[in-house]
């Protein structure tokens, strides 16, 4: 099962050397349980900040975020870490794989943090790598994988703890067209199979068009209605 997302008046400001920089200004958004939302916008529009707040990587400064009925504004420290472990799966533009670990070890890592036994997480990692078509690359380090393969490993890792919310930050940003298409199809398939909520940040309007809901941001405010 996925989770419903509710944002109300979400604002976030960064301090910069040139003064405060507001990247989200009173954003309201609803994503249904198991929904698929795409967020687009130019650089600095607040896409990554939105994803970061949804993923519990930082605390919102103003406004309210509810994910599956859980108010993230009330969480901090270990609470947010537990939320990330139990609810969220991240897929990053730069894959976020640890170069010191093999593909299987990277996938296992999330299970390690969740307290799974070595045998359990090993089995789960191999199963997920098989599911993304990389069973034969389990022992390879990221440096020996192509961009598309790395991103598939990252997706497998994101699925280890059976997340209810899958957050993908420009997952095709560093990929060629074929690999990008494969990754998007994989994410959508995963969403269907795991029935999780998917929020995808992308620069590509054609990819955003595949989502059930399209949020276009500019300077932290929605500029278009969802598709």
């Amino acid at each position: 099962m996925g989770v419903a997302i509710t944002l109300r008046g979400l604002s976030h400001t960064y301090r910069t050397s040139d003064g405060p920089l507001t990247v989200l200004g009173g954003l309201d958004l609803d994503v249904t349980d198991g929904g698929y939302a795409a967020v687009t916008g130019p650089s600095g529009a607040g896409k990554t900040t939105l994803l970061s707040l949804l993923g519990g990587l930082e605390q919102p400064q103003k406004g309210k975020i509810e994910v599956g009925g859980l108010d993230l504004t009330e969480l901090s420290g270990d609470g947010l870490a537990a939320y990330r472990r139990a609810t969220v799966g991240f897929v990053f533009q730069h894959f976020g794989l640890l170069e010191t670990l093999t593909a299987a070890q990277n996938v296992e890592l999330a299970g390690t943090l969740n307290g799974a036994t070595p045998a359990e997480r090993r089995a789960r990692a191999l199963h997920l790598l098989d599911a993304v078509g990389l069973a034969d690359r389990a022992g390879h380090r990221p440096s020996r994988l192509s961009g598309g393969e790395r991103q598939r490993v990252a997706i497998a890792r994101a699925l280890v703890n059976q997340p209810k919310l899958l957050l993908a930050d420009e997952p095709t940003g560093n990929l060629d067209d074929d690999s990008a298409a494969m990754v998007i199809e994989l994410l959508e398939a995963v969403r269907h199979e795991h029935r999780c909520t998917l929020v995808l940040v992308t620069h590509h309007r054609d990819l955003a068009a595949r989502a059930e809901q399209h949020v276009a941001l500019d300077r932290g405010r929605p500029v278009a209605t969802p598709v």
């Binding site: 990554t48 970061s52 993923g55 990587l57 930082e58 420290g77 270990d78 870490a81 537990a82 990330r84 472990r85 139990a86 991240f90 990053f92 533009q93 730069h94 976020g96 794989l97 640890l98 170069e99 010191t100 670990l101 890592l109 999330a110 390690t112 943090l113 969740n114 307290g115 890792r157 994101a158 703890n161």
Partner: protein
């Protein structure tokens, strides 16, 4: 994250940054080597110096003379004894009963004539023995001794063997000789209760024209020792006869138990003394001290109680000597040396730990993205901190262990060189024990210092905002 998983991640990180890890470990190892070597050598030197002060006996040893106390000398380490005063079993038991006394070792001295090894002693030689002086000189400690100058006789090739001479044999409980101020220079001590073995001192070597370096030359040779006795028949002049025994020299020692060039079993000395003490008539007997024991060697429970025990024995009326003031003074200087050497090693270790901190800070900078990823997939601050602390701890533990082993090996090497020198000088070598406390402390200290050095980088890594770490990506 479980500790085991954190350890595995730290181990992976160390393996992947092998070059830097090796350099960091090497710095810790070198520092630990320096610390261990300095402290071990300083400790051994301390033992050696104190051993020299105590002449091989325990530092808490007290020599009790069969003499009264000289009131003006009470507070000195080596007082001049007063008039002779008998030391018997009653006094020995009273001293043994003192609560601060660990043990009491008896010393019996006996006047003897000695005939050094030279082709087997013959009747002709026995007949040419010089008479024992009728009045025996008393040494400052009250022990009897005699000196008779004799013309050297050429005997052993290359060595001048003296003729028969008068000396003193010192009898001790050989089974407890290790507790007495005796240092073996060559060979070994006679076996306990032996009536056929003797150890000689450097004075004996000097008589032979030998130096301390040549001590081994006399081991295995024989010497005849004769306890003199006076016989007086009515109307006849006094005659001297001796109870001769042929003894094998089994070792050369430096001994401070009592003046005398022959160290034998207590039984041997008692028998000789008893023979001499008994004469045909009182007037004709040799004038030897009447005390059954020429001295006692008392061992206090520890160095701090030496003064109290000496006072108690003084109250019993006996003169005592012990290097307590000298030892205390030397110990203070040695402690200063140890502190300085330990500080040098500790400074090296602190510098090495700064290296660990620097390496880990660099690692935190390099691994911002990795830390961010860990946090994004659910790592808590303390999980991240744990990984970095493990890494620091492993670097410290490995470096400390390697360095401590290296330090001990260095100390062994140094002691081998020192022993070579000491042996060449005819001195007893140093024995490097296994200073377990030093070794364990060095390893544990290195690890703890590394953990302390890693604490700040680990905290910095743990506090790295997850979002900021993602920006680094």
């Amino acid at each position: 994250m479980r500790w085991r998983d954190a350890a595995a991640m730290a181990a992976t990180s160390i393996r992947r940054r092998f070059g830097r890890s090796i350099l960091t470990v090497a710095a810790v190892a070198l520092a630990a080597t320096l610390l261990t070597a300095l402290v071990t050598i300083a400790g051994t030197a301390r033992t050696k110096v104190l051993s020299e002060l105590s002449k091989g006996g325990p530092l808490s040893g007290i020599t009790v003379a069969a003499a009264e106390v000289d009131p003006t000398q009470v507070d000195t380490d080596d007082p001049r004894p007063g008039p002779p005063k008998d030391l018997d079993d009653r006094v020995r038991n009273r001293i043994q009963a003192l609560p601060e006394v660990k043990t009491v070792l008896p010393i019996v001295a006996a006047v003897i004539n000695a005939v050094p090894a030279e082709p087997p002693a013959s009747a002709e030689i026995l007949g040419r023995l010089p008479p024992i002086p009728s009045t025996v000189a008393t040494t400052t400690t009250g022990a009897p001794s005699t000196t008779v100058s004799t013309a050297p006789r050429p005997t052993i090739p290359g060595v001048t063997t003296p003729g028969p001479f008068a000396e003193t044999m010192v009898g001790i409980e050989l089974e407890r000789a290790s507790l007495m101020p005796i240092t073996i220079l060559s060979g070994r001590l006679p076996v306990p209760h032996s009536l056929t073995e003797v150890a000689v001192t450097q004075g004996y070597l000097t008589r032979m024209g030998l130096t301390k370096k040549q001590a081994a030359a006399v081991v295995g040779t024989e010497v005849q020792l004769g306890a003199p006795r006076v016989f007086t028949d009515s109307g006849q002049p006094r005659r001297f006869r001796s109870r001769w025994q042929r003894l094998t020299i089994v070792g050369v020692v430096a001994q401070e138990t009592a003046p005398g060039q022959f160290l034998v079993s207590l039984e041997q000395a008692r028998a000789a003394r008893a023979w001499t003490a008994s004469g045909s008539e009182v007037e004709g007997r040799l004038q030897i001290p009447t005390s059954p024991y020429s001295g006692l060697f008392v061992i206090a429970q520890d160095l701090e109680r030496v003064n109290k025990v000496r006072n108690e024995i003084t109250q019993l009326g006996y003169s005592t000597s012990a290097p307590e003031n000298l030892v205390a003074s030397v110990q203070r200087y040695l402690r200063v040396v140890e502190i300085v050497l330990g500080a040098i090693g500790a400074i090296a270790l602190v510098i090495a730990s700064l290296g660990i901190a620097n390496a880990l800070l660099a690692a935190v900078r390099e691994r911002r993205r990795e830390i961010g990823v860990l946090k994004a997939i659910g790592a808590r601050d303390r999980d991240v901190q744990r990984v970095f602390l493990f890494e620091a701890g492993v670097l410290g533990l490995v470096g400390g262990t390697v360095g401590t082993a290296g330090g001990f090996a260095t100390a062994l090497g140094v002691s081998a060189v020192v022993n070579q020198y000491l042996t060449a000088q005819g001195l007893a070598g140093v024995r490097l024990g296994l200073p377990l406390t030093v070794l364990v402390s060095a390893v544990v200290g290195s690890t703890l210092l590394a953990l302390a050095a890693g604490a700040m980088p680990a905290r910095r890594a743990a506090r790295l905002p997850a979002r900021e770490a993602m920006e680094a990506a």
